[in-house]
Symmetry: C2
Subunit: 463 residues, 2 copies
C-alpha cells in the first residue's frame, strides 16, 4: 500500500487530483446556473471533462500491472457512492441522459474496435469450441440457478421468479473481458477469440431464453412460433452479417482504396457502418454491441492508404534509391506498413473520448448500499458462486490445448443484459425487489472480480 | 447544371443516395419501436449514421470548388424542409436532444481545432485591426438597425424592440467562416486571423450590448454596475485565457512530452482542456465556442512525440546509417517531422464524427416556410442588406495591405448568438413573432450566402 502511494506521489498525481476536485466543485456550481437556457450545455461539457480526467487518473493502475478498465470501474464505484459519505456532487451525472448515451456509444465503439482487430477467418476457426463454451456457459448457470440454488437460497417463490433468476445469469457481457484482453494486448490469442465468439452466441441464446421465460411468466406457457420468430431474427442478423462480410470485404476494400477525398469519407463510412449494424442488432432484439462487433468483423480486412505518408516513402525511396537498390528495398519494407492507416487508427481517438465514459458510468451505477443488507448479501454471494462456477466450467469446453481457465474466467462478467432481464422480470411483477438486488450484486461481483483475475491469468505463462 | 449532374453520376453518388433513402426508411421504422425500452438508442445511432452519410454526400460540392460546409448546410436545409413536401421522415431528428448536444459539441470541437491551427503570436499581431473590425462591425449594424432601418421598415414599435433588432445584428457567428477558411486551407492568412480575433471581440461586445438592452427592456434603464459585472467577467475570462496561454505553453509542452502512457492521456488532457474552457466561457456568459477557441490557442504550441513512428526512424537510421552518414541525415530530415503527432491529428477523427452534425443540424433548423410571408420577407431582405453592409464596411477597418472585402464578408454570418438575442427579447415580450421571423430570415441569408461568396473571394488572387 505504501509502495502504491509512493508510486502515485512519484507520478505526480496530486496536482491532477487537486485539479479534479476543483473541477468538480466548479461543475456543481455551474450546474446550478445551467437551467437558465435550453442551450446551456456547460455542465455536460464539464462533466465529460471531469469523468475523462478521473478515468485517466484511475487508468494509472496500469503501472502496477492491472488492466486500466479495472481502475476506471473502481473510480466509477467510488464517485458513484460518494453519496454515502453525504457528498452529492456526482449525483447529477447519474441522471444526465446525454452522458448515458455517450457511454452507450462508447461501448459500441469499443466492440467495433475489437471487431476490427478480430478476424472473421480466425473466429471461424474457433467456431466449434466457441459454440460449446457458449452452450455450457448458458445451460449450467440457467439450470443450477433455476432449479437448485434459487429455490434453496430464496425459498417459497413462484417458478417464474426462479426462471428469471436463471435467465439473468446466462448472458456474458463481453465489454469488460474484451477491454482486459485489449489492454494487455492479447486480443489475437485463440482464447480471446473463443470468448468473443462465445459471447456473441450466448447473447443469442440469452435472447431466446428471455423470450421463453417472459412468455411463461405472462401467459403460463410459450408458443413455438414466438420462439421461432425471435430465433429467426437473431440468426438472420448474424448470418446476414457473416454473408455480407464474406462477399463485401473485397469490393469494400476496393471502394475504400478508390476514395481520394481524404480520411473524412473513410471515417464516416466506417463509423456509419458500425452505427447501422448496432441499430440493426438492437432492432432484432440483440445487444447493440453484438452488431458493432459484427460490423468490425466485416470491415476487418478493409484498410486503405493514408495519404500523408506515401509522400515520405517516395522521398526516402528517391534519396536511398540513388545509392543502393537493395538498401532501398529494405528501407521500403520498414516504412511501407506505416503508409497505410487502418480504420482502427481513425477510430482510436473517438474511443479515447467515449470508451472510458462507459466503464466509469458502469462503475457509478453500482449501488454499494445494496450490499449493506446481510441476508440479501449472503444470498447474492451464494448465487455469485454459481455465476462464477457456471462460466468457469464452460471454459472446459474450449477444447484441447486451450487455456481453459482463461476462457472460463473470460466468460464470467455479466452486465447490462442480465440487468435488462431483471428489469423486464420486475416489470412483469415476477422479480421481487429482493431478487433484483441479488441480481445487481451478482453483476457487480462478476464485473469487479474478473479483471484482476484475468490480468493475473494472462500474465502467467500457462494456465 | 448538366455538367454538375454528369459529375455526380460519374462520382457514383447514386448508390449512396439510394442507400441513404433506404436507411431513412428503416430509421423511421425503427423509431416507431424505439419507445420500447429506455436503453433503446437504436434510432439515435441510425440518425447519426444517416446525417453523417448525408453530410459526406453533400460535401462532394468540394469537387466543383465550393467549401464543403455549404453542401452540408444546404443538405440540412433540404432534409429539414422535406416536411413541406409532406415527407415527415426527418422530423424526429429536430427533436432529438442527444443529436442537438452532439452538434453543439461538434462546433466546440471545430473552434478548438481552429484555435489549435491558429497561433497566439499571430493573433496578437492582428490585434489592433481585429479590434477595429469588431468595433465597426458591431456599431454600424446596431446603430442602423435600431435607429434607421428598424423604425423605417417596421414602424410603430416601442424603442426596446428596435434595440433588440439592432443587438441581434451585431454578433458574428464565426463557425461558418472558419469552416470555409479551413476547407480551403486559408486559416493561416492574416485575413483569417483578423476575422477570428474580431469574432471573439465582437462576441464580448455583443454580450455587453445584450446586458444593456435587456436591462432597458425590463426596467426602463440600466445600471452601470450590471454592465460592469458582465464586462468584467468576459474580460477576466479572455485575459485569463491569454495569461494562462502565455505562461503555461512551455510547462504544458514539457508535461505533455513527459507523458509516456500512449496517446490516450494526451488526447484526454487536450479534449478536457477544450471542454473546460467551453464551459467556463458559457459560465461567464460568452458562447462556448469562444472558450473552445481560446483553449485551442493556448494549447497551440504544444505538440508531442507520437510513439509509434520513432521505431521506424531508428530502424531506418540503422539500415541507412551502416552505409552512409550524410544519407542517414537526409533520410532522417525527411521522416523526422512525421514522428511527431500533433494534437490536431488526434482531434481530427472526433471532428469528422461531430462537426458535420453541427452544420447539417444548423441547416435543418432553417424554416423555409418563414419566407412564404411576402411583407415579412421584404422587411427581412431590407434588414439583411444592413446586416451585410454593416459587416462588409467593417472590413475596411482591417487596415492597409489586407484584403478588406474578404475580412468584411468573413464577418457577415450571424448565427446562434443573434438567435439567442431574439429568443431573450421574445421571452421579455419585446420582440414580436413578426420581428422574430425577420431575424431568423436575416440569419438564414447571412449563413447561406456567405460561403459561396467567401469561396469565390478566396479563389481570386486579389480583392
Amino acid at each position: 500500500m505504501t509502495h502504491l502511494l509512493q508510486r502515485f506521489i512519484r507520478n505526480k498525481c496530486f496536482p491532477w487530483i487537486a485539479a479534479l476536485t476543483f473541477l468538480c466543485a466548479s461543475t456543481a456550481f455551474a450546474s446550478e446556473g445551467a437551467e437558465a437556457g435550453a442551450h446551456s450545455y456547460a455542465s455536460t461539457f464539464l462533466w465529460i471533462a471531469v469523468l475523462l480526467i478521473a478515468a485517466k487518473i484511475a487508468s494509472l493502475v496500469e503501472r502496477v500491472g492491472q488492466a486500466s478498465v479495472l481502475g476506471e470501474l473502481v473510480m466509477g464505484v467510488i464517485l458513484g457512492n460518494l453519496v454515502l459519505l453525504n457528498i452529492h456532487i456526482f449525483e447529477p451525472v447519474k441522471e444526465n441522459d446525454t452522458i448515458a448515451f455517450l457511454a452507450e456509444l462508447g461501448v459500441v465503439i469499443l466492440l467495433f474496435q475489437i471487431g476490427l482487430e478480430s478476424n472473421i477467418q480466425k473466429m471461424g476457426k474457433v467456431g466449434i469450441p466457441a459454440f460449446l463454451v457458449a452452450m455450457v456457459g448458458v445451460i449450467v448457470p440457467f439450470v443450477t440457478g433455476t432449479w437448485l440454488v434459487g429455490p434453496w437460497l430464496l425459498p417459497g417463490l413462484p417458478m417464474p421468479a426462479y426462471l428469471f433468476l436463471g435467465a439473468a445469469l446466462t448472458a456474458t457481457s463481453v465489454g469488460i473481458t474484451a477491454r482486459v484482453f485489449k489492454d494487455l494486448g492479447k486480443l489475437q490469442t485463440p482464447e480471446a477469440q473463443i470468448v468473443l465468439g462465445a459471447a456473441v452466441i450466448d447473447d443469442v441464446l440469452g435472447l431466446i431464453i428471455l423470450a421463453i421465460v417472459s412468455a411463461i411468466a405472462t401467459t403460463g406457457n410459450v408458443s413455438m412460433a414466438q420462439i421461432g420468430i425471435i430465433t429467426g431474427k437473431a440468426l438472420a442478423f448474424l448470418v446476414g452479417a457473416i454473408v455480407i462480410g464474406h462477399f463485401s470485404a473485397h469490393p469494400l476494400g476496393k471502394a475504400f482504396s478508390k476514395i481520394h477525398t481524404g480520411v473524412g469519407m473513410k471515417f464516416t463510412l466506417a463509423i456509419s457502418f458500425c452505427l447501422i449494424f448496432a441499430a440493426a442488432a438492437q432492432w432484432v432484439g440483440l445487444a447493440p454491441i453484438v452488431g458493432a462487433f459484427a460490423a468490425g468483423l466485416v470491415l476487418d480486412p478493409v484498410h486503405f492508404r493514408y495519404f500523408k505518408d506515401p509522400k515520405v516513402i517516395s522521398d526516402v525511396k528517391e534519396l536511398v534509391g540513388s545509392s543502393d537498390q537493395l538498401l532501398q528495398e529494405r528501407v521500403h519494407a520498414v516504412i511501407e506498413p506505416h503508409a497505410h492507416r487502418h480504420i482502427e487508427d481513425l477510430i482510436e481517438p473517438v474511443g479515447h473520448l467515449l470508451v472510458p465514459l462507459f466503464f466509469i458510468m458502469t462503475g457509478m451505477g453500482v449501488k454499494l448500499e445494496t450490499m449493506f443488507n446481510g441476508p440479501i448479501l449472503l444470498t447474492a454471494l451464494g448465487i455469485t458462486v454459481i455465476a462464477f462456477a457456471g462460466k468457469i466450467v464452460a471454459g472446459a469446453a474450449a477444447g484441447k490445448g486451450k487455456r481453459k481457465w482463461l476462457v472460463g474466467w473470460g466468460m464470467v462478467p455479466r452486465g447490462e443484459v442480465g440487468l435488462i432481464f431483471a428489469t423486464i422480470g420486475k416489470g412483469l411483477g415476477v422479480v421481487s425487489d429482493e431478487m433484483f438486488s441479488v441480481i445487481v450484486i451478482v453483476i457487480i461481483m462478476t464485473t469487479l472480480l474478473t479483471p484482476p483475475v484475468l490480468s493475473a491469468l494472462l500474465r502467467r505463462k500457462t494456465a
